[in-house]
Symmetry: C2
Subunit: 307 residues, 2 copies
């Protein structure tokens, strides 16, 4: 199953020639999910070839650099004759703000637009194979992060053991793997536990949106495969980060270390680091010895299974 | 005096990887003027180095592809501590639409934002050296184009003739050029008409915004140095152009020919021509034998004086 993350915009509040305002595209086995829609997101989607087949949009908070690309994207869908509904998930008490942006499109969309408020801890999207849950954050405004958590996959099927027990190769293998006991011709019953290992975890990715360091992200990201975290500032602006409800790269590293994630991607990089953002990665690495990447526009990551 | 036009966005309603939604920057001797502000305009300004020192914004009509870059640009000015006021000129009855976009910035701008409605024929901006006037257009919504018309320059000073008449080189030359008679040492009076030619015209540029072909643009652009005209479609979509309130490239050429302009720039190019827009130029050239250019993002034109 594909779990591909494409960074559409990695700038802080003010974009640069290299960084568009915030946007993260996730392709989960063909489902297009969009997290934040900064100004210019639609052209970034064209540029980086994500496609326009998006079913759900997840807004972390109503600041311009995270939402001003929404009306243009909705309008382009309209021009292109979109018919399928779109659901926009947004923090509680921001529905009317989002609605104002939706109707800023003078045109009346040809497709249904649903706006759905989500509170921290609430499941925004429930899918057979995964769920997206809102996570409490602290950005001095109504805000959430989002955790995409895949359901467990079936345990590994021990083919050798099954053959040893006399299970004939064929449909009985599938029945067992699906969790049903089967009966052999001699009447022996084989239980799935005999040949199927414990369920294997799916993948987890967490997107913090803009936030100060918070325990709730550590909890949501515990053992996650990928944590995409606010790293607006370097050490020298730690006070400013606190004032503005952001994190430093080092703090993002500390969160990643506490959560024990596999990979940390630093994003929402202040325009102060337009010349060179590598010090941010170095500071995060001092706090976290897993993989650290500074996001750049167009960065594409395939999240692998742990086993 | 500089009159430099930088094309920030040249797309039709739907942008492409090559073309941003509409935006034209004009640098008139250091005055920064912005005509339409499609989504992504602020990054185009960075990319093409126009600078952010804009005093006046001119909106042709309230369609998303001409205005959705406004809130982000206003917010970036705010982040950068702008203090000088900005005036946004917009067609009559669109003030509240624009105001809604301005306040879509949750933040309260640190600088005054004035919204000023302009009717066709009305002067939007009056400057010592030039004026910007709204021009009637027809885009099936409240819309205007804009004409920037420089005031006449002084006539050419005939230095040879002045010396012949015995005027001493020095401040008397300037007095005469400024239109004042002077007295020589022998009591002879020299009138400015004797040494200064007739006033020479300033430059004129007209931006149509989105419109069907209209006589009012011909009138405003009569003898203009530059006409930037809607050329959304090619001949094959003439009916569609009429339905949607746009022009074909050929119709833009016809307007340019009737107005007798020096140069025609085709813009608002439909995404249909993303592969190759050259047929549009060819069609315009069949109707107009002056200079025809298809705008592209980043195109920079210095408008020369006619003499």
């Amino acid at each position: 199953m594909t779990l591909r993350v494409t960074f559409l915009g990695t700038a802080g509040a003010v974009p640069t020639t290299e960084r568009n305002p915030s946007g993260v595209h996730v392709n989960r086995d063909g489902d297009g999910l969009l997290f934040d829609v900064g100004e210019g997101t639609q052209r970034q989607m064209m540029r980086y070839g994500t496609g326009f087949d998006i079913s759900n949009v997840f807004i972390t908070h109503f600041h311009g650099d995270h939402v001003f690309g929404l009306p243009g994207l909705l309008e382009t869908w309209d021009f292109n004759g979109r018919e399928s509904p779109i659901t926009i998930h947004t923090p509680t008490h921001t529905r009317s703000d989002i609605a104002a942006l939706v109707t800023a499109c003078d045109s009346d969309p040809t497709y249904p637009v649903h706006i759905r408020e989500v509170a921290p801890g609430e499941i925004a999207l429930e899918h057979e194979d995964y769920a997206v849950t809102a996570v409490r954050t602290n950005h001095r405004t109504r805000s959430v992060g989002y955790a995409l958590v895949e359901t467990d996959r079936r345990g590994r099927f021990n083919r050798e053991k099954a053959e040893e027990l006399g299970v004939p190769v064929g449909p009985k293998f599938s029945r067992l793997h699906e969790g049903h006991p089967i009966e052999l011709e001699d009447g022996t019953v084989v239980d799935p536990e005999q040949v199927v290992g414990p369920p294997r975890p799916g993948r987890t990715m967490v997107y913090s949106g803009d936030t100060q360091p918070v325990d709730s992200i550590v909890e949501a990201a515990e053992g996650a495969d990928l944590l995409i975290h606010d790293a607006t500032f370097g050490d020298e602006y730690e006070a400013r980060a606190a004032e503005t409800g952001h994190s430093t790269a080092r703090q993002a590293g500390e969160i990643a270390a506490r959560a024990g994630v596999s990979k940390l991607v630093l994003t929402h990089i202040s325009s102060r680091y337009a010349g060179d953002a590598t010090p941010l990665a170095a500071q995060a690495r001092e706090a976290f010895n897993g993989s650290v990447v500074i996001a750049h526009d167009g960065l594409e990551l395939d999240v692998p299974y742990r086993d």
